[in-house]
């Protein structure tokens, strides 16, 4: 037991060392950190609390005075872009966590136990994943009403199926391997085998999936806004990009550009971070 803890500690320690030794990863981490700080500051109202103020003429283009130009109401696109970080980060985080919780729990149970448990869970998974996503998205908005909660739930409750399938597949592959059999031989319980033995071996999939989910959620918010199911009352990159479908043809590119750039940077950072985490945490790669 003690030896095991020692070992896992050094695993994470080792991972951290390798993470901070890579410059790209450090940059990506800093970006995520900066975005998180910005999101926190804007949530607490310390910055851009006056984003809705009219500061100049409608649709003023970018200039030294208005950094990213102004929107239809003469509000600063820069302030809106910053304010929207809050929505994006919270959507990514909450739906990422929801997805991992649901996907990993159900996936490992199904894969590990097999039999009736697997049948029921696979039935549930198949049912949910075979209904076109758009129907579920819209219906969740019907049930919980419009707003940020609907965004969290509709993305979180619909995107766990991919992870479920992967985790289940991995568990099926792993559960008969020698190391699991060895654990059984020394009397390891199911819980222990799932979480202590198999899960670490498939955890890079969870990590990759979480980072994918984080960026997927941020991007999906755009689609939800397009469908009219996005957040209400506060700016989001999704609504900003959606406004551009009327603005672009008249040459108003700044709102689209600002939101796209802000989104691209953080999504990219998350992707790179996910990759680096994978390299660092994958036990099989450790010895190379």
């Amino acid at each position: 037991m003690a030896a095991n803890e020692q070992e896992s500690k050094s695993l994470w320690h080792h991972a951290w060392d390798s993470l901070i030794s890579d410059r790209t990863t450090v940059i990506a981490m800093s970006i995520v950190l900066i975005y998180s700080v910005v999101a926190l500051l804007s949530t607490t109202g310390l910055i851009v609390s006056d984003w809705s103020k009219e500061v100049g003429p409608s649709y003023a283009p970018p200039s030294s005075e208005f950094l990213f130009g102004l929107d239809i109401f003469g509000r600063s696109v820069f302030a809106k872009t910053i304010k929207a970080t809050e929505i994006a980060m919270s959507v990514g985080l909450v739906t990422g966590v929801l997805t991992v919780l649901i996907g990993v729990t159900l996936g490992s149970l199904a894969g590990y136990y097999g039999g009736k448990v697997d049948e029921v869970l696979v039935w549930f998974y198949t049912t949910v994943s075979s209904v076109p996503g758009i129907m579920l998205l819209i219906s969740i908005a019907f049930i919980v009403g419009k707003g940020i909660l609907a965004v969290y739930l509709s993305l979180g409750l619909t995107s766990w199926t991919g992870l479920f399938r992967l985790i289940r597949g991995e568990f099926i592959r792993h559960k008969d391997r020698e190391y699991v059999q060895a654990a059984t031989a020394i009397g390891g319980g199911d819980f222990r085998k799932i979480f202590k033995h198999i899960l670490p071996n498939v955890f890079h999939i969870v990590i990759i999936n979480f980072s994918l989910q984080f960026q997927f959620a941020i991007k999906s918010e755009v689609i939800l806004s397009y469908l009219g199911l996005g957040v209400q009352g506060v700016p989001s990159w999704g609504t900003m990009i959606n406004d551009a479908k009327l603005e672009l043809a008249r040459g108003n590119w700044w709102q689209l550009a600002a939101a796209t750039a802000a989104m691209m940077v953080v999504v990219l950072a998350f992707n790179i971070l996910g990759d680096s985490l994978r390299d660092a945490l994958d036990p099989k790669l450790k010895g190379k």
Binding site: S52, F73, K146, T239, K245
Partner: protein, 595 residues
């Protein structure tokens, strides 16, 4: 695997080359390319409830009457009728003579596939179809309780398994082959407008019988165009060809002075339709519709709100860039009104006219006009739009806000008198709107306006059906919406505030004022007359001062058209206009090079 990828890449290249080669069309004659912004349902007149579907229906089918293409105010003229009807002295009986020699388009449903002559009985049949309880026609509201015996007929067959069209209805008879008689159950001065609406257009019983449920995909009418290959399929492109057996219908030689001056009579006396093919492109998103127009792929397009500044920098004139391309801007008033309705089921609004007045006063309509309608709309003082009797010229609603500081003060005072000084004690007011970008922005604007006197508003976006449900189930506080005219009569607007029309009727706000109701009941059955206009004006004034809604604007329609499109005028009732449009092919070929 490598081989397949090479083949696929080659195929793509071939495709690219093909793409550049197939661009040249080799179709003879004139083609009219149109863009519409919404999916078209089937081609059955009785289901043509939205503007898009009814426009498509009206390319193929025709009715007894139509609006004169070049006259304003809107004037009804005979179409399939020989002349305007004979109306009995009591106003209850309308007798029509229909044109002789009008024939249905050829279709296998007819003997030997040759279309037969249209007779008065066809109208009896078509209008019964609209009333058929098994078909649930969407235009039934138009004739509900209006034609003698028709409601009874409908009711009787609701219970029975099949509907018998042979059973005679007292108010709907073909007296002979070409004579049609309507008897009304009650005075209904708007009846003639109903006969110009696609709901009542003539279909043939043989075709309905042959295709049954599929009738909606096999439109066979008497109109100027026929659907290509005889079958309508649900796609994003509908192609029509000229109906070879179309009767001798001529381009009008009279027009309102304005249109005459614009040279719209150039094609006077020419046989309609003037083009050989009509291609309708369904383009739902604004960006592609607009870009396609600029490329000359469609002949005209309504201006999306946000394209305005590039197109029209100084509001009234077109930017030079477009003018050199021969693009023309047409501005014309449309018969509609936008508004923010209060839910009058709520005590908060029902009993508190001062609250409503305060909210109306603080809502700066001029700025909203600038932001959303490019300063081209007409701020609404009350419910009836200009251009129809009942609208009061130069009337100014005392509670119409337009951003003046003294109005803000007055609004604050009224709000205090209403019992909510500085908004204290008022609950958060929800504002429901449809979920498109512009509606959301209008909602945000409303919120900002109300904040000026301390009223807190929450904007909620809804998909259209959900918004409708919320309104009909009274699950709203305030909501933003618009009404477009079904026919050019103030009755069509004033009924929105008539108590008995409460939701799920047209009166979504549930406003119920005994005085208004009394006046409406009197005016609604009167024939057009100075007395009726006086009553309409009186109601319009009450509707202004009582502030049952916060009035928005009467919008203008902005249409951009290419120089090669001839004879285009914009209309609120644009069913059937394609037959009047013309294309200058040489000019088109020349101008396309500049685009």
């Amino acid at each position: 695997m490598k081989k397949t990828s090479v083949i696929l890449l080659l195929l793509t290249l071939v495709g690219l080359l093909g793409a550049s080669c197939t661009k040249k069309e080799s179709i003879k004659g004139k083609t009219l390319n149109l863009a519409v912004s919404s999916q078209v349902k089937g081609m059955d007149p009785i289901y043509a409830s939205d503007r898009y579907s009814s426009n498509e229906v009206a390319r193929i089918y025709e009715g007894l009457l139509e609006y004169h293409y070049l006259k304003r105010p809107y004037t009804l003229v005979p179409n399939l009728a020989e002349s305007m009807p004979e109306v009995s002295a009591d106003g209850f009986t309308y007798t029509f003579k229909i044109k002789k020699g009008v024939i249905f388009q050829d279709d296998p449903a007819f003997p030997e596939g040759k279309g037969r002559e249209l007779i008065a009985e066809d109208f009896v049949y078509s209008i019964k179809r609209l009333a058929d309880p098994k078909l649930q026609g969407l235009g039934w509201w138009l004739l509900d309780e209006k034609i003698l015996g028709l409601n009874e007929w409908r009711k009787k067959y609701t219970e029975l398994p099949t509907v018998d069209y042979a059973e005679e209805v007292e108010g709907l008879k073909a007296l002979d082959r070409y004579t049609l008689q309507f008897k009304l159950a009650k005075p209904f001065p708007q009846f003639l407008y109903a006969l110009a609406m696609p709901f009542t257009f003539a279909v043939s019983k043989e075709v309905v019988a042959k295709y049954g449920n599929e009738f909606l995909n096999h439109p066979v009418g008497t109109g100027p165009f026929a659907i290509k290959d005889g079958v309508f399929t649900q796609t994003k492109k509908i192609t029509y060809v000229k109906n070879p057996t179309f009767r001798e219908k001529k381009y009008p030689c009279e027009a309102s002075a304005k249109f005459e001056k614009e040279g719209l009579l150039a094609d006077c006396g020419k046989k309609l339709p003037l083009v050989d093919r009509v291609v309708v492109n369904i383009i739902e998103e604004d960006q592609p519709r607009w870009l396609n127009f600029q490329k000359g792929k469609v002949e005209y397009v309504s201006v999306p709100k946000d394209n305005f500044d590039t197109v029209i920098p100084d509001a009234k004139n077109l930017s030079p860039e477009y003018r050199t391309k021969g693009i023309d801007l047409m501005v014309s008033p449309s018969l509609d009104v936008t508004y923010t309705a209060f839910n009058h089921d709520l005590k908060l609004f029902k009993d508190n006219v001062k609250l409503r007045q305060a909210m109306s006063l603080v809502y700066d309509v001029d700025t909203s006009n600038k932001l959303f309608y490019n300063n081209q709309a007409i701020p609404a003082q009350s419910v009836v739009p200009p251009g129809i009797a009942g609208h009061i010229e130069n009337y100014v609603n005392p509670y119409r806000g337009n951003g003046k500081p003294e109005q803000l003060e007055q609004a604050k005072k009224l709000l205090a008198e209403a019992g909510y000084p500085e908004g204290k004690g008022l609950p958060e007011i929800t504002y429901d709107c449809p979920s498109n970008t512009v509606s959301r922005q209008i909602g945000e604007y409303f919120k900002k306006q109300m904040a000026k006197i301390g009223i807190v508003v929450k904007v909620i976006q809804n998909p259209w059906p959900e918004l409708q449900k919320k309104i009909t189930t009274r699950n709203v506080m305030a909501y933003g919406i618009a009404w477009g005219a079904d026919y050019p009569d103030a009755e069509n607007f004033l009924q929105l505030l008539y108590g008995p029309n409460k939701a799920p009727g047209a009166n979504g706000s549930g406003y119920d004022n005994p005085e208004m109701n009394r006046l409406f009941k009197v005016a609604a059955v009167m024939q057009d007359s100075p007395e009726r206009t006086a009553l309409y004006e009186k109601m319009n004034r009450i509707a202004a001062e009582e502030v049952p809604w916060i009035y928005g604007v009467h919008r203008q329609s902005f249409v951009l058209r290419h120089s090669w499109l001839k004879n285009f005028v914009s209309s609120d009732f644009d069913a059937g206009i394609a037959q009047y449009l013309n294309i200058d092919k040489n000019l088109k070929a020349e101008m396309l090079k500049k685009l």
